[in-house]
Symmetry: C2
């Protein structure tokens, strides 16, 4: 049985994907800690730092897709005090195509509520099997 704390983080994590699917900037922004020490790294992008840059990134994305749906596997959740990490495998189907990505989410608990402080999402390269000796995409240049 899952411990109660983990379930609360999972719900915060789920809320992120719901806001993404709704393409709702206000709903998305409400899930993040409201300050300038948040960071969001979209796949391939430079890090967006602080409330304004993070929000503008979501606006840019939400304005350019007409639909987006996620299938998400939460691979791991760790909680230490008021900090939590979730690692997710994401499959995105959108009006712009499909992608499989790996995401690191960091949350902090404020007044009993888990807020996002960091997201790092990046493409999973399906031909990069970590068990294979030749799985070294990192050393073969940026795609």
């Amino acid at each position: 049985m899952m411990e109660e704390g983990t379930e609360a983080v999972r719900q915060a994590n789920d809320a992120f994907y719901l806001a993404f699917e709704k393409r709702d900037v206000a709903q998305m922004e409400a899930l993040w800690r409201p300050d300038d020490n948040i960071i969001c790294i979209h796949p391939g992008w430079l890090p967006r730092m602080g409330q304004k840059q993070v929000r503008d990134g979501w606006e840019a994305i939400f304005n350019h897709v007409t639909r987006v749906a996620f299938s998400v596997c939460v691979m791991e959740i760790t909680i230490v005090g008021d900090f939590a990490r979730a690692v997710c495998r994401e499959h995105i189907v959108s009006s712009h195509g499909e992608a499989t990505t790996i995401a690191t989410h960091l949350f902090e608990r404020h007044d009993g509520r888990w807020l996002l402080v960091h997201r790092h999402s990046s493409p999973l390269l399906t031909d990069a099997d970590p068990a294979a000796d030749n799985a070294l995409p990192m050393l073969q240049g940026s795609p």
Copy 2:
């Protein structure tokens, strides 16, 4: 002037790249918290979880490059209590080619020493200008 705490995290971060450049598994492993709650996400790979998977990943990489050198820009360091986050832009030149990557590093302080607990590194797509409206590589399928 940089506060002393930040400098200690920077040194731990530097030590990571030195161990990587030396391709020394033991030196690398000594920089990580020695337990099964560590995660390392190499560019394009599935997350490697726990001490054994993380070490095996480094062995696979170090066995397949004959030289590797980093130019690293530390973009951000945040410390909250015994937790620290560093975000780095990495340029890698190796016997297998060149790549520019963005990394999230998470550290925990144990007995006064900052140990890695999480690394997520992924390719920076140079044509993905986050200021551009059409910078949506995440929605255009995995490279």
